[in-house]
């Protein structure tokens, strides 16, 4: 069993993506032996009214609801997000949130974020935060010019112990590995951009926060799935620990019964 914690569908305005429909994503999943995937809408990142992106997402993945697990994109600084949150969870069956503070121009430590996190905690919704969507070194001139600092997520997690945070698409985990402060226990990390050889950042991460807080992801269709799968394949840890990363950890966070 493999569950991918990090996939997307929708239009990316700055480069032609392939396989960026629900059907395309499932094609990639099948090709790579991935059973289920957490998915959100790229369109929702760019619409002022994110909710229309969430609605589109749920309509599009309808034939694949047994494989694709929808996460809502919400902007706590945009009007009526509480109503959108309620609709996403109660009517659309969305299982978590993805937040984009840089694209939506807010800070995770601001009042509106605190309110959204508080509501999400009440609903027991995991929060996924991609530190970037594409590498800012190759960005389009209208795209954001930096990555979200991991320390900002760690500080937010410390202040909101009732929430669960899953960090996506992070390359530099040194604030976690080398930080002097204890890492908040509600922080999970998706491993696709980390390494299994040479610097061995996956192993360092496991040593620091435990294997139960590392989850598998690919970043499809922005990224090829194979690099992440290859890292898992050659990772020098017990098979049981690999199972935890491949699916058990995220299944537990999502309350999935997949045994």
């Amino acid at each position: 069993m493999i569950i991918d914690a990090s996939t997307y569908i929708g239009h990316w305005p700055f480069r032609r993506l392939r396989y960026n429909t629900a059907e395309g994503l499932v094609t990639l999943m099948d090709r790579n032996g991935i059973d289920k995937a957490v998915v959100s809408s790229i369109n929702a990142v760019f619409y002022k009214n994110c909710q229309e992106g969430n609605e589109e997402l749920v309509e599009e993945i309808e034939p694949y609801r047994d494989r694709l697990i929808p996460f809502a994109t919400l902007n706590p600084k945009y009007v009526a997000w509480r109503e959108d949150l309620e609709r996403c969870v109660k009517d659309l069956g969305m299982k978590g949130l993805r937040l984009y503070p840089l694209y939506h121009n807010y800070g995770l430590l601001e009042r509106e974020s605190r309110e959204l996190l508080s509501e999400a905690a009440k609903m027991r919704l995991p929060i996924e935060i991609p530190v970037m969507l594409v590498d800012p070194r190759q960005r389009h001139w209208m795209d954001v010019d930096r990555t979200l600092p991991l320390n900002q997520i760690l500080e937010t997690a410390k202040r909101h112990p009732e929430n669960v945070f899953i960090v996506l698409n992070v390359k530099d985990v040194s604030p976690i590995i080398e930080g002097e402060q204890p890492v908040p226990k509600n922080v999970y990390v998706e491993m696709s951009r980390l390494t299994a050889v040479l610097t061995k950042s996956i192993q360092a991460l496991i040593s620091r926060i435990g294997v139960e807080r590392v989850v598998f992801g690919t970043g499809m269709p922005f990224h090829y799935a194979k690099p992440a799968l290859l890292k898992m394949e050659i990772l020098d840890i017990e098979e049981e620990a690999k199972e935890a990363i491949y699916w058990k950890n995220i299944a537990k966070l999502l309350g999935l019964n997949v045994d």
Binding site: R15, R16, L17, R18, Y19, N32, V134, D135, P136, R137, Q138, R139, H140, W141, D145, K171, R193, T195, A196, V197, L198, T199, G219, M220, P221, F222, H223, Y224, A225, K226, P227, A228, L229, L230, K231, I234
Partner: protein, 260 residues
């Protein structure tokens, strides 16, 4: 399938410091990933290194070659600003130390006349020149990177047209710069190859290289992003023939062209 990593580095940096792992770790990683040969260099990534520094860099590479003679091959790193001396250092590295090509960094841009004597020498010897390359979002960003003279595809194409018998490699198309820019810029210069190394694993990148340049001009490489390097070639929509060309046959052909 056999694999030749066209762009890699050894465990010690140009200043002699460790990257945090050993050459044994590098070889172990290569073995895990099925990489047969690692083409390595020790460049200085900023400023204008003197000949003395350059020779020390190449000696670091040579030590690794001696440590793993069946696995590690070397590129000679030079600063083209030293004209005759840089050519002499290439000759020392290739003829005496058995290195297979030249590695250039960002000391000069590929379209600057200062590089021509060195590139003409490389063409005469028919050895490849691997160029650290990338297209930053803006000149200001290049300055922030500390790389105002970084070469991109346009600069390398300009050089390739001036020295059409040179064998040039645009380094790490997945190294962080705008890879679509790099690939498009090189479409009509048949003597330039791209290497696919770097941590960027954008879906469609390798396919675009093949579409615009042909599989014969694409070289597998890691630049130390080992799993990313292998994974993106395995994950790309390619025929087995194309994958084999990229993983090793193209680089093997380049190495066989050497006249030394």
């Amino acid at each position: 399938m056999k694999k030749i990593d066209a762009h890699c580095h050894v465990a010690r940096r140009s200043d002699g410091s460790s990257r945090g792992w050993t050459n044994a770790d590098l070889v172990e990683a290569a073995d895990k990933l099925g990489i047969d040969k690692l083409l390595c260099s020790t460049p200085v990534s900023g400023g204008q290194p003197t000949m003395d520094v350059v020779r020390k860099c190449n000696n670091i590479t040579y030590e690794a070659m001696k440590e793993y003679p069946d696995k590690i091959l070397g590129y000679a790193f030079v600063n083209p600003g030293y004209f005759t001396e840089s050519i002499e250092e290439v000759e020392r590295c290739v003829k005496e130390l058995g290195m297979i090509g030249i590695k250039l960094y960002n000391q000069y841009r590929a379209d600057e006349p200062v590089v021509l004597p060195l590139i003409r020498k490389a063409a005469e010897m028919q050895i490849p020149v691997l160029w650290h390359a990338g297209h930053p979002p803006s000149p200001e960003e290049a300055l922030r990177w500390g790389q105002p003279r970084i070469s991109d595809g346009v600069h390398i194409a300009a050089l390739a047209r001036k020295v059409p018998d040179a064998i040039l490699i645009h380094g790490h198309i997945g190294g962080g710069g705008d890879w679509e820019w790099g690939i498009k810029a090189l479409r009509n210069v048949p003597n330039v190859y791209v290497d696919t190394s770097g941590s960027v694993v954008d879906e469609g990148m390798v396919e675009m290289c093949v579409k615009y340049l042909g599989a014969e001009r694409v070289l597998f490489a890691t630049d130390l992003s080992m799993e990313a390097g292998v994974g993106k070639i395995l994950g790309a929509d390619l025929t087995d023939e194309e994958r084999e060309l990229i993983f090793w046959k193209n680089m093997d052909r380049i190495l066989r062209r050497r006249k030394v």
